[in-house]
Amino acid sequence: MHYSLLFYQTPEVFSARADPEKRKAFHAAFIPYVKAMHDAGIIVAGAGLEKPDAATSIRLGDSGHHVQDGPYADTKEQLAGFFIIDVPDLDAALKWASRYPAEPGFGVEVRPNLPEDRETLLKTMADG
């Protein structure tokens, strides 16, 4: 099963990226975490994201496209990165999520992906 691990951060944590000391401390824990997942052979895809103010969002309204600067949802915690992992079940996905080197101000959402093969996907959509 493919699961998405969606990593959220508060604005304070995002701004800590500018602090070289904090950045170094985070990487000391984060790089081994990624390596452990990589060596377990479960990473399908993943990326870290630039700060939310680097985002540009498009909303579709009655009057067409409305383009705005900034993230799509106006929430305190914003998406900071994600992994798609291939593990047997949700328990295993949560186990890996719990190893994320989180400090206060971080959070992880674990969500099952829709099936990746076309046939199962179409069937799920039809049933749903």
């Binding site: 000391a28 824990a29 790089i31 081994p32 975490y33 990624v34 390596k35 452990a36 997942m37 060596d39 377990a40 949700l90 328990d91 949560l94 186990k95 719990s98 190893r99 080197p101 989180a102 400090e103």
Partner: protein, 416 residues
């Protein structure tokens, strides 16, 4: 214990007794829980204000009976066990009025929770919920499982008990020992394993340690002649005794060897020793007595100032004979490292099955430590990396990052 804890403990105790009584007679744990749920949460609130009533079970039962009658009158879905449950509630009322009271049938709940037909992974949650009334969401957080999934699994296990007609009677003398082993193992799983064995224990289960100790005390009280129950209690008490020394003032992890034994609780250690001594008089050694004996050797450091690693290694040898768990094997390697050197310990680690060891954090933490001692810097740093990546506890992770950092900088200073 503060006032809040006293109320909570009294409510849990009465809840467990009453649930055991009602479900043993109706054979329907879920329905009995439903009947008691409101009463239990009302008790937690009410008793905090007005104190624990003189007869807590009677208080809970009155509230639960009201609910049962209400459900019987209005129920949309027919609960098959309702007549039996109502009958059991009446019986309970009669018992409570008698001087002997309700008795304690919680052992039935413990044994049924760890029955061979119940999946091993749900035994501990089932015990925590039935005997102590802990809700599924909290159990789920402690075990890092989805709360909805945990609730589903608990419901399924209770349905299985009902449908398969698993008897509520505790096992007879012929299969008491294996069944008791399963119960004790499930209680130990609530405590969390390997806290002290190596620099890499999993602390995410800390939240339920007092509950696990409570359950062990309960089993010792109900089965006073079973040495393994006392062994388990002794083991947990020894670990509890070191609680204050495990983290320094800034919350950083302190490995057992570096702990200040002045911070260990002498009274808890003494109680553990007493339990272990009583257990050993039965002349039936077992896994938990051995594990407690290992902790007992560690506790000696507070008295004579050193750790007899040879004794620890021997005890681990015995433990691995009867319970060759991954945790015990890694623990033995850690002890051998101190008694006979890092090379002998590494040889033991090589024997472990690669596939299971690959994501077992304490294995990597110990391996890193041993390789560093042998001066295999690059390999040690790689093992540290893996141990860091597999840590789910921030204090442990920071400790390992610190060790790895020291190793990296010391190797850079060294002339080649």
């Amino acid at each position: 214990m503060d006032a809040h804890e006293i109320v909570e403990r009294a409510a849990r105790e009465s809840y467990g007794r009453l649930l055991a009584f009602l479900s043993a007679r109706s054979r329907d744990i879920a329905a009995a829980e439903d009947a008691l749920a409101d009463a239990f949460s009302a008790a937690l609130v009410n008793w905090s204000h007005s104190g624990v009533p003189a007869n807590p079970e009677a208080w809970l039962l009155t509230a639960a009976r009201r609910r049962l009658i209400d459900v019987a009158r209005h129920q949309q879905v027919r609960v098959q066990s309702m007549p039996a449950l109502l009958f059991a509630a009446e019986e309970a009322e009669t018992c409570i009025m008698e001087p002997t009271g309700l008795g304690d049938e919680r052992l039935k709940l413990l044994f049924i929770s760890a029955h061979p037909l119940i999946d091993a992974t749900i035994r501990t949650p089932l015990m925590l919920q039935t005997v102590l009334g802990i809700d599924a969401a909290r159990i789920a957080s402690v075990f890092c499982v989805s709360p909805a999934a945990m609730a589903r699994r608990l419901t399924r296990a209770k349905a299985r008990i009902r449908e398969a007609g698993i008897p509520f009677d505790p096992p007879g003398s012929d299969d008491l020992i294996p069944r008791l082993d399963a119960v004790l193992e499930a209680v130990y799983a609530a405590y969390g394993t390997g806290w002290d064995a190596v620099a890499g224990g999993n602390s995410s289960l800390r939240g339920l340690a007092p509950e696990a100790v409570y359950l062990a005390r309960l089993i010792v009280a109900l089965l006073p002649n079973e040495p393994e129950a006392r062994g388990l209690l002794a083991l947990m008490l020894h670990c509890e005794a070191r609680q204050a020394a495990r983290r320094d003032g800034r919350g950083a992890y302190v490995p057992l060897a570096d702990q200040d034994c002045a911070l260990w609780s002498g009274s808890l250690a003494a109680e553990a020793e007493q339990q272990l001594a009583t257990a050993s008089r039965a002349g039936r050694i077992g896994r938990f007595q051995l594990e407690a004996a290992i902790q007992s050797v560690h506790a000696q450091r507070a008295i004579n100032g050193y750790t007899d690693w040879e004794a620890v290694s021997l005890l681990y040898g015995g433990l691995v004979e009867i319970a060759p768990t991954l945790g015990a094997r890694v623990g033995r390697a850690a002890a051998i490292a101190e008694a006979r050197g890092a090379e002998a310990a590494l040889a033991l680690l090589w024997e472990l099955p690669k596939a299971v060891a690959a994501t077992y954090q304490p294995y990597w933490a110990l391996k890193a430590h041993l390789l560093a001692r042998l001066g295999a810097i690059a390999d040690a740093l790689e093992a540290y990396d893996r141990a860091i990546g597999l840590s789910d506890d921030a204090a442990m992770r920071d400790f390992l990052i610190g060790r790895a950092g020291e190793l990296a900088s010391s190797s850079q200073c060294r002339p080649h």
